[in-house]
């Protein structure tokens, strides 16, 4: 079966100056301008978005489910990877 859908774009929205662009979802579009407009209409009409990114979905390289073990095994048996042994010196503000 041939895919008659237009190319897919991933949409990232920023909800304030300095905030990170976060993945909001995806839209179909034939080019970047249309992807921006569709992203605006689908994800940015409500709320307080101040910036949009659209990225062709095919440009994203993703890990696979098989990668879960080798990539993300948290290494709970390697406590030295976790930073909680350090004491925050006095006078340093904790955020």
């Amino acid at each position: 079966m041939t895919d008659t859908q237009w190319p897919l774009w991933e949409v990232f929205t920023q909800e304030g100056q300095g905030a990170p662009h976060e993945h909001a979802g995806s839209v179909h579009a034939v080019d970047a301008e249309q992807a921006l407009q569709n992203a605006r209409d689908v994800y940015a009409r409500r709320g307080k978005v101040v910036s949009l990114w659209v990225v062709p979905s095919i440009a994203i390289s993703a890990s696979t489910p098989e990668d879960v073990g080798p990539f993300f095994d948290p290494g709970n048996d390697k406590p030295y990877r976790h930073p909680q042994f350090y004491k925050v010196p006095r006078g340093v503000r904790v955020y």
Binding site: V27, Q37, N38, R40, D41, R45
Partner: protein, 290 residues
């Protein structure tokens, strides 16, 4: 609040208790059907606001007809968004019109309880939605006009109207960007899409003259610093349309005979059908509360 004409208003038309007056079908170039809202009268501002509001009310309804029928999901949402923006503009403009009229009607009564002969929109916006290309071509012609008009209207000496125009102008800039992009894509697309777009512009062209027509109402508003002289916008509008159509490989139609009369209540046969649907719930359940 209650819908319907106030008791001291002329007893005819929607919401009246009087028997329905027989209104002859107005031929395209026939005599003007006088109503209490036609002509400059003693309240040109009310008339002017109706014109501005009705354009957006009727086009909003036409676009709403696409809901669930758009070519793709994203465009379905986009058209509904533009429709809602237009309804938003119409709400503000008709609310202001109702206040100016001061006869106890509100914006809902103006939108849902006037008949076709009382509506003041240009005929361009009442034409059936056609195919997607036709809808886009009309939207582009109207957006290009609206962008110029509302930028000028935002400098009105009427503070409330200037505020509405400034808010609407931001949204219209997006509408124009959206419709322009589609004209380019469809005009310079496949032979089929190109032919449909050319046909749409050829069909629509004779309805564009009315956008720039000026009468006593408009002139009174311009003299008071409230309204916009639409005739001065035509050059800039043509420049914009020429540029976009050229890039879209489309031919700008020749200026021939231009139809008109919508501002005086003369409409195509299509407006009555649109109103029958748009007003059906309000008329079936007068005064119903949500």
């Amino acid at each position: 609040m209650g819908y319907g004409n106030a008791p001291d208003e002329p007893e005819f038309g929607a919401g009246s208790d009087a028997p329905a007056r027989v209104v002859p079908d107005a031929p395209a170039a026939g005599p003007v059907v006088r109503t209490h809202t036609s002509g400059p009268g003693d309240n040109a501002l009310f008339e002017y606001l109706l014109r501005l509001g009705d354009d957006r009310l009727i086009l909003g309804q036409r676009l709403a007809e696409w809901c669930g029928h758009g070519p793709i999901l994203e465009e379905d949402i986009a058209l509904a968004n533009v429709s809602l923006d237009l309804f938003g503009h119409a709400t503000l403009l008709l609310k202001l019109a109702a206040e100016v009229e001061g006869n106890g009607r509100d914006e809902d009564a103006l939108a849902f309880l006037r008949d076709a002969v009382e509506l003041r929109n240009v005929q361009l916006v009442e034409l059936p939605r056609g195919d997607f290309g036709f809808t886009i071509a009309r939207q582009f012609l109207f957006d290009a006009f609206g962008e110029l008009y509302f930028a000028a209207l935002a400098r009105s000496t009427h503070e409330a109207l200037a505020g509405i125009a400034a808010k609407a102008h931001k949204e219209i800039r997006y509408h124009l960007r959206h419709s322009t992009d589609w004209v380019l894509k469809l005009g310079d697309g496949t032979p089929e899409s190109h032919a449909r777009m050319q046909r749409a512009f050829d069909e629509l062209w004779r309805f564009t003259g009315e956008l720039f027509a000026m009468d006593d109402v408009d002139r009174a508003m311009v003299e008071q610093g409230i309204g916009v002289d639409a005739s001065t916008l035509r050059g800039a509008w043509r420049d914009r349309v020429n540029a976009v159509l050229a890039e879209a490989t489309l031919r700008v139609p020749d200026d021939g005979y231009m139809v008109g009369g919508g501002r005086l209540g003369r409409h195509t046969e299509f407006l009555g059908h649109l109103l029958a649907e748009m007003q059906s719930v309000v008329r079936a359940h007068p005064g119903a509360q949500w």
